[in-house]
């Protein structure tokens, strides 16, 4: 943010060539970054167009995903000759993918947020400083662990545990309760929406924790100390003087975790089952998410199916980007104050 002087103090004009070349290169890279996101978005829209034209809004509301379906009113001959025209084969509904993404991310958010906020408060307000620092360093490290490693852990250890112990136990106890019981029906395979949700919980926990701790640490301690001096207990002081000031930032942290859960691919692909496009109320359903659907189906696709996958990608782009930006807005607003 500095002004560009056109003459040196001695009055001699500064050579402009170097400035022009360097400034040009620097601007070029910034423009490249802009073009990159424009390119990605535009390309997804263009690739998705045939699918959008074919399915319209039904793409978002139906759950039938059959790449070999013959469209209504077309003969087998027309289908064989068609390339991306009205009679290209395939019927595509994205509802199972959207449903799986929404359910896994929300379950993960509901489970991870209390754990993360509770730990963040404890680390920044209760724990001795040294221990808090050590835990925080470990947490920052865990944010950086590759998602495929979480997937490996979940596929090898969590899934068998879920299939043999936890899911049967849930089914025996909660499975008979009215309303809630509907969540725990069907065979217990261990590769299902519930397992994927648990992996996501563990993956977004460090993200939410790290941001919450940072936000809580930035709140000025004066009001809290004042309350304690007037006889408030520690928890009362935290609840009334710290948390209200940190609320917006913590919400932003939780949404950043949500954005991560929505876009997460590998760990979910390895644990969610990717087996059925039926939408059911059971958490034991072997479903898909938007991201796992793309990763799973992309290598076996061509023609209109590719277009439908691009439309899945477009939906994923819109949802994850809007949540991501909203959360960054909230966090930065809280940290700046």
């Amino acid at each position: 943010m500095s002004a560009v002087p056109s003459v040196s103090p001695g009055g001699r004009p500064v050579s402009r060539l170097g400035n022009q070349i360097f400034g040009g290169l620097v601007r070029l890279s910034a423009i490249l970054v802009v073009l990159l996101i424009v390119g990605i978005s535009a390309l997804l829209v263009i690739e998705a167009l045939p699918s959008i034209q074919r399915s319209g809004l039904a793409f978002l509301t139906t759950s039938d995903w059959d790449p070999n379906a013959i469209p209504d009113g077309c003969t087998a001959d027309q289908v064989a000759n068609a390339a991306l025209t009205a009679c290209a084969k395939g019927r595509f509904g994205a509802l199972p993918y959207i449903f799986g993404t929404v359910v896994t991310s929300l379950v993960a958010l509901i489970l991870a947020t209390p754990l993360a906020i509770g730990s963040a408060i404890f680390i920044s307000e209760y724990a001795p400083r040294r221990i808090g620092d050590i835990i925080s360093f470990a947490i920052e490290l865990l944010v950086a662990i590759p998602s495929v490693v979480y997937g490996l852990w979940a596929y090898q250890l969590l899934s068998p545990l879920m299939a043999q112990t936890i899911e049967p136990a849930l089914q025996d106890t909660l499975g008979h309760v009215p309303l809630i019981g509907a969540l725990f029906q069907g065979p217990t395979t261990g590769n299902d929406i519930l397992t994927a949700s648990l992996v996501l919980t563990i993956m977004i926990l460090p993200t939410i924790l790290a941001i919450s701790r940072e936000v809580i640490r930035q709140v000025p301690k004066l009001q809290k100390d004042g309350m304690i001096a007037l006889g408030a207990t520690k928890w009362e002081a935290i609840r009334l003087a710290i948390l209200p000031a940190a609320q917006v930032g913590i919400t932003g942290g939780a949404m950043l975790g949500l954005a991560r859960a929505i876009g997460e691919t590998m760990a979910v692909t390895m644990t969610i089952g990717n087996n059925t496009t039926q939408v059911t109320s059971s958490l034991f359903n072997q479903g898909y998410t938007l991201a796992s659907g793309i990763a799973n189906r992309v290598n076996e696709s061509s023609g209109l199916t590719f277009s439908a996958l691009a439309e899945l990608g477009l939906v994923l782009l819109l949802v994850s980007s809007s949540i991501n930006l909203l959360s960054r807005l909230l966090v930065s607003r809280n940290l700046k104050r």
Partner: protein, 310 residues
Amino acid sequence: MAQSTLSLDRQALLNAEKSRYSARQVANQFVAGLLLALTVISVLLLVSIVLVVATQGLSTIFPTVDGHITFNTDYFTKTGVPGGSTERGGVLNGIVGTLEMLLLGAVIAVPIGLGTAIYLSEYGTGRLANVVRFIIDLLAGLPSVLVGLFILLTLINSHIINNSGLAGALGLAIIIIPIVASSVESILQLVPNELREAGYALGMPQWRVVLQIVIPTVLPGVITGVILALARAAGETAPLLLTTAGSQLFLNFDLTKPMTALTLQIYEYATSPYDEQHGLAWANALLLISIIAMISAAVRYITRREQYDS
């Protein structure tokens, strides 16, 4: 008479206040215990994953043979073997693939990321700079599977390039650019304006002020930002899964041919039915986590030293 009622009231009030006080104390203690429990659960969950990876990975790299701990050189020097084979396989092709794709990705992405950071910190004012910042946030939050899908739909489907190490490197480059740009920008902002002004006062043109004053002042921080971005990219799987089509059996140094990577091997070996391959997956996970941990520790050391210096 009136005197004693008053004191009775005061006693009652005092008692009520006392019981309220103890209730508040109980609530205080209860919350402290609850928060401790939540912290213990979180830490145990996360530590258990690291411990499992460490023990499983170590038992592959340093297997116990006849009661002696040995070093499994095959892990580093051989490529994968078909499932169920009696031979011991390795992940050399994954190490080569990750290194080559990361290096090429860095060569493409680091100049663009640095340029964008310099633009934002030194040149950018007004609306365009804000648009660029906004877009860097967008790119950083982009689900990485979309990066793979983008490369696949543009370059591979139109036969400009094949499924190859090159395609994977381009995917990694898109991951690296926004991380370098945003971390380096925030570091460049730390350079005091007085230093820039001193340069201008000596008659230096802006490009020399940037290259000879601004960047050298925070060089360790800039390098740190770049290394952290590379560490992130080394752990990416989804962009490679859609673009590289690597084989586990063959060693390949040619970037224009299909390549595998450490992360892709974790994915394929984890979901295979053979115990031997599971061992390789755990060892890869340990390798990646160790590299990331060492980088984070080094970064922490460097940034802390810098704070003391200034």
